[in-house]
């Protein structure tokens, strides 16, 4: 993974000193709350319901075991012994003391980590495919470019005070595992007819109050132009994005109001002016960064491991786990393993400090000391020998991270919700838990097959409910918590937004509502159809009828 040189390290160290001084000034009364808010926000520090919440950046979801141990330590020393992995592949701590935050940042800096731009109206953490570098369908490894974008976006002086937050995702594969269509900018590696690799650039996607699927602004951009093009897009957005209403301030609204055609004309004209300029990326720079992401020293293996195959044949529980939680690797004899942070009864994405330490040890033993965070809020070991999978499975079971539910109903994406977040209209974690408890029969879950259920506690959509095959949104009605259900959302290259099926439900009704949706699917599905396929084929009406016939 990328390692800081003295430039990178100095910047992060200077940021710690700057934030230490800002915190001191605030605590001394030299900065008002209004003045301090934007300063702390761009460091990921929110004042939440009960305590500050600190969001720490995990660039494109990649962590070393050393960094994971540091996070475990921070959870133990400054928080309540756990952390929460987020849909931006970051981690957040819910109980630090404001006074301690400069020290936490100081500790992070010792392992090349920071909390820079994890909130605030600026470019947020760059996210990428969690199977980067190992997927067979990859055109390029998106990580070197993600790191390039991390550096470009870090303290970009022109774009420090954008109209609103700005999220960029990068995919290097044909299969989009980074939800790039629902980002302010999505960057896709593509190969053109001449065989050159460049980028397809998308703009104006996003979730939140006004969910929009991103639009292609450029089908093919020469890869050395990518920073010039990003500058051009951000400049147009910074100048013309709305600042009068925070609910209309995202780039998706600008693109809509200006029309894609006019917006594109502005961007292209700005790009014409700056292309070939100093921010043009030389191949040597990409090579410099890419060297840090060189493949680990894999063993030369002949192919699928015979012992592994025998274990799959003999052991049904192991086979179930392999089927759901193990992803093929482009190197023979290796696999990627997803550690499920979606065990029933544990808030989705949460891990204790002890678990983080164990994960770090297992990463050292099984995956070249590397861990990844997926935007589905799970952890990944990307480089595991097939021959070691059975042993690793045993270790993960003991740790509570071997629930064989990746991609299944109980692999729920869920925001912290009303239990923690002051923005939330409703709790989300108890809804996730009630659904997980109701559908705990593995055979049934495997029979339902691939489906994603996403829960957000408010319309800010941190739980990505719009792109859930089943989406659940917490709403406030007269001070009571209700849940609006949508179906038909999807992420990936066929991203679509879910449609609301009707009036909202009380929390206690939610498991039944999900059951009826699933029953409808099971009755109506064709062979080989996943839930989303059936919804697309028959529409939402049959689901709606079933749910409301009994409920009202």
């Amino acid at each position: 993974m990328y390692r800081y040189d003295h430039h990178d390290q100095r910047l992060v160290d200077e940021r710690v000193a700057q934030f230490r001084d800002q915190t001191r000034r605030f605590l001394a009364g030299e900065l008002t709350e209004d003045e301090f808010r934007p300063l702390r926000l761009r460091n990921g520090l929110y004042i939440q319901k009960y305590a500050p919440m600190l969001r720490i950046s995990v660039p494109y979801g990649l962590l070393s075991s050393t960094q994971m141990r540091k996070l475990a330590h921070i959870g133990r020393k400054y928080d309540r012994g756990y952390g929460h992995f987020t849909t931006r592949q970051n981690i957040q701590f819910n109980w630090p003391r404001l006074e301690d935050v400069p020290d936490i940042l100081g500790e992070l800096a010792t392992v090349e980590m920071h909390a820079i731009q994890t909130s605030g109206n600026c470019v947020r953490n760059i996210t990428a495919d969690h199977f980067a570098g190992i997927a067979a369908d990859e055109i390029i490894d998106p990580m070197p470019y993600s790191e390039l974008f991390r550096q470009w976006s870090t303290f970009h002086p022109e774009f420090a005070y954008l109209p609103r937050k700005f999220k960029i995702a990068v995919s290097g594969s044909a299969t989009d595992r980074a939800a790039t269509l629902v980002h302010d900018i999505g960057v896709h590696a593509v190969r053109n007819e001449a065989g050159n690799i460049g980028f397809r650039v998308l703009v104006g996607g996003g979730l939140g109050r006004t969910p929009v699927i991103g639009h292609v602004i450029r089908e093919f951009l020469p890869r050395e132009e990518i920073l010039n093009y990003l500058d051009a897009i951000l400049r147009v957005y910074n100048r013309f994005g709305r600042r009068d209403n925070i609910y209309k301030a995202r780039i998706k609204i600008l693109v809509k109001e200006m029309t894609l055609e006019v917006f594109t004309r502005h961007v292209e004209s700005e790009w014409q002016r700056v292309q070939g300029g100093p921010a043009t990326v030389p191949d040597e720079e990409i090579e410099r960064i890419a060297a840090f992401f060189a493949p680990p020293p894999y063993e030369r293996l002949p192919g699928d491991d015979a012992g592994f195959r025998a274990a799959v044949a003999d052991n049904r529980a192991f086979a179930n786990w392999v089927k759901r939680n193990v992803f093929p690797h482009k190197v023979p004899g290796y696999a990627a393993v997803t550690l499920s942070l979606k065990k029933t009864g544990v808030p989705p994405g949460d891990a204790t400090s002890d678990q983080m330490d164990m994960v770090a040890d297992l990463a050292d033993a099984y995956s070249f000391g590397e861990v990844r965070v997926s935007h589905e809020q799970n952890l990944i070991f990307a480089h595991v020998k097939q021959a070691a999978l059975l042993a690793l499975w045993g270790e993960l079971k003991a740790l509570g991270f071997a629930t064989p539910n990746i991609g299944l109903l109980t692999d729920i994406i869920c925001c912290p919700g009303g239990d923690f977040c002051s923005l939330a209209n409703a709790k989300s974690i108890p809804i996730a838990e009630a659904i997980q408890r109701r559908f705990d029969d593995l055979d049934y879950l495997h029979d339902i097959g691939e489906i994603n259920l996403n829960i957000s506690g408010c319309m800010n959509a941190c739980g990505h409910h719009h792109v859930g095959n089943i989406g659940v949104l917490g709403v406030d009605k007269g001070g009571a918590e209700w849940y609006q259900v949508s179906i038909g959302g999807d992420q990936g290259e066929h991203a679509s937004l879910g449609k609301v099926i009707g009036p909202s439900f009380a929390a206690r009704e939610m498991p039944d509502v999900v059951a009826k949706l699933l029953d409808t699917y099971i009755e109506r599905r064709h062979a080989d159809e996943q839930f989303i396929d059936t919804v697309r084929r028959i529409g939402i009406e049959p689901f709606k009828e079933r749910v409301y016939a009994a409920a009202h």
């Binding site: 993974m1 390692r3 040189d5 430039h7 100095r10 910047l11 200077e14 940021r15 000193a17 700057q18 800002q22 030299e30 003045e35 934007p38 300063l39 990649l62 109206n121 570098g133 390039l148 550096q151 470009w152 870090t154 303290f155 970009h156 002086p157 022109e158 774009f159 420090a160 005070y161 954008l162 920073l227 400049r235 910074n238 100048r239 600042r243 002016r273 300029g277 100093p278 921010a279 990326v281 030389p282 040597e284 720079e285 410099r288 060297a291 840090f292 992401f293 060189a294 493949p295 680990p296 020293p297 070249f368 590397e370 480089h383």
Partner: protein, 180 residues
Amino acid sequence: MPLLTRNRTVIDDRWALLPETAAIADVPVSTPAIVPLALWSAQHGALAARGDIGVWLKPADDPDALAGDVACLLLIAVDFPKFGDGRGYSTARLLREKYRYSGELRAIGEILRDQLYFLLQCGFDTFALQPGRNVAEALAAFDDFSDNYQATVAQPLPLFRRRLQAAAAEAPAPSEGSRR
């Protein structure tokens, strides 16, 4: 009002800043003055002839309106009515990089120490710090960071180009590559 300069000095401000509502009659006869863009455009002949009139831009003003004036203007000010309104950063870069403006570029409005580094990078020369702020601390804030990654007005070569230059100067470059 203390006026900071990018040279880390504090200077007296000899310019009168006229409000948005100012009319031509409000422009002082013998003192240099900074007038709003609307007044400048409306009274272009008379004001441009004086040679001691600067123009200030609101966040929404298009710097293109000054495209014909950049060669002779001594001062352009960019207003930040709220420090969270970042349009002026792009305005400044466009003035410097697109319109090649080389006169004094001044940041006015809600200018606080925590914005100074970014303003400096975007090409501002002078900074009208909000009254009542600690000037010494503000001067120190120009050096909150000793470098940045991006190509900026103050540092036109992005860090990656300077890194490559340094590596080339030190050939043979040792490999820093490590496995993932």
